[in-house]
């Protein structure tokens, strides 16, 4: 597994007393859409700031895209597109002028900058507002412009801190599509948020933080498996005929609920064979659908946050 981020015992203590990030050993694989999740104050922003060299760690070390976060932070910022939390733009300048300034700060020459500005504005759907002053932009438009500035340097790694705050539902859908597109282009994306529903199903890797500590990290499918091993599998049985009869049999195998001809049963993995037997022996039952319900991001978060 090729890693784009790897940290060892990364720690940040503010003013010698507030431990914002506590001994984090982070690993982010290349090509992932990683969700960095945790409540406000979990240490997500501090972790991102350390990874991009905006603040220095108190202890520990780390590498981003192979560059040392302490000694080579400038190299990191050349290659990492960062959308910081609480960012802003120059209201008196147009979208183009703001991006031009960012391009100049990145040392992109004028011709190339013009080309890229048009491209990134198109990517985020702001091409029509190229020459509009940012003063008149809505929160969502500013957020999209923020993503545009992060994309301007054609980054291998994109770190977006609370990217969907203030975006309307339509914008959130567009955002997810954009994220998938970026990963298809070979980039790695880290999305930091405290709003789980904003992430939806776009993440394939998650990092859970609580009070500065890293509680869990891994591919969603691996964490789901771990969750299922510990908490049990959830099966959903949609029944066309004989739902009540089947429910009476199934509830002997595990925790079961019948609602609108759908039986949801929570049991161990081995029970699937018993379930098959029940289906076969129970007469007068017509099954419509049988599926395994994978734990949601919220299930995983709650499990790692409160139970493990």
């Amino acid at each position: 597994m090729e890693l784009v981020i790897e940290t060892k015992n990364l720690t940040k203590i503010y003013e010698k007393k507030v431990v914002a990030v506590d001994g984090v050993n982070l690993k982010v694989p290349k090509g992932a859409i990683a969700g960095l999740i945790g409540h406000n104050g979990a240490g997500k922003t501090t972790l991102i700031s350390m990874l991009t060299g905006l603040i220095l760690p108190t202890k520990g070390s780390g590498k981003v895209l192979g560059y040392d976060i302490i000694k080579e932070s400038l190299e990191i910022r050349k290659r990492v597109g960062l959308l910081p939390e609480g960012f802003g733009f120059y209201d008196h300048l147009t979208a183009y002028q703001n991006l031009k300034y960012i391009a100049e700060l990145n040392g992109i020459d004028r011709k190339e900058a013009d080309k890229r500005i048009v491209e990134v504005l198109k990517t985020v759907g702001l091409e029509k507002h190229k020459d509009s002053k940012v003063k008149g932009f809505s929160r969502g438009m500013k957020q999209r412009l923020g993503i545009a500035q992060a994309l301007l340097k054609d980054p291998q790694l994109l770190i977006l801190d609370e990217p969907t705050v203030g975006i309307d539902p339509e914008g959130a859908i567009g955002f997810r599509i954009l994220m998938r597109k970026l990963v298809e282009e070979g980039r790695t994306v880290i999305l930091s948020t405290h709003l789980l529903h904003e992430l939806g199903d776009i993440c394939d890797y998650i990092i859970v933080m609580k009070q500065g500590k890293l509680l869990a990290q891994g591919y969603v499918k691996d964490l789901q498996r771990e969750y299922e091993e510990k908490k049990g599998y959830v099966y959903e049985i949609r029944v066309r005929k004989g739902a009540e009869k089947l429910y009476q049999e199934v509830k002997e195998l595990g925790e079961a609920v019948l609602k609108d001809n759908v039986i949801t049963v929570k049991c161990s993995r081995d029970t699937v064979e018993d379930l098959n037997s029940v289906f076969k022996k129970t007469e007068g039952v017509v099954l419509e659908e049988f599926k395994v319900v994978k734990p949601s991001l919220e299930n995983l978060f709650l499990y790692y946050y409160y139970e493990r």
């Binding site: 503010y14 400038l74 190299e75 910022r77 050349k78 733009f89 300034y101 100049e104 700060l105 990145n106």
Partner: protein, 295 residues
Amino acid sequence: MGFKVVLKKELKDMLMSKRFIILIAIFILFYVAGFYFLVTIGLPQIRRPIVFLLRNYNSILGLIAPILGIAFGYDAISGERERGTLRIILAQPIYRDSVILGKLLAFFLLTATSLYAATFISLGIFVAGFGGALTLDDIARASIITLAAVLLSLVYYSISLLFSVFSRKSSHSALLAIAVWIIMAIVLPLVATMVAFSIAGPPPRISGTQRGAAAFREWSKKFNQVRESIMRISPDTYFGKVANTLLREISIAGRKTVSLTDALYSVAPSFAVLTIVPLILLIASFTIFVRQEEK
């Protein structure tokens, strides 16, 4: 690289900013009013009208220079922080020192260019409009006084910048910077006068005798000494000293003009203060800002 980009952007922003345009308008207004006043009192009758013109001009410079410094310094960092633009800038491959140095140099270039331009334009108007005699010595003196005004402006810029580096809100840094200016320009002269009176006591009655005149001179010397020692705290004092010293001798009719070199020797300590104070404050701002962490 980053430094030059910041410098270019800041220069453009400053030049196009409303505050700069307003300050220039105020400057012109004061200048024209002063000029009009000189004309109405009979400029052609004055033996060396250039001195009166420069005196009027310097009093405007002494007022505008601190305002210019405060106007561009108070939100230099706190404004960027407040708008969230500092986060965007620092997310780029740029060192923190480039941000503060770019802003500082942009301010210095803008102030120096605009104040020198104003000085030479006003001298040009004087010559073209009134056919006034202007010597190289006059031009040199005017240039040196303008340099002192640029430095005075830099003092207030560096004070404001220091507050701006510390503050999260521009309104806080603006209030602090304005408070310092009011203290230096208004409160301190009043306090200095009051303290001087309380130390020197009431002035002796002028009886017309030689002894009475000597007593008054003694009292006056003591009073001025106390007042001047207190006023040394204010940077405005040093600008005033430079302007007065360079214009004093040539303004008094019939008195032998002190050479420019001699005048420069006597204003050198004032220039030293006007250079060292902003330097110290700028180093402090620079060091603090570079070590700060945007949480």
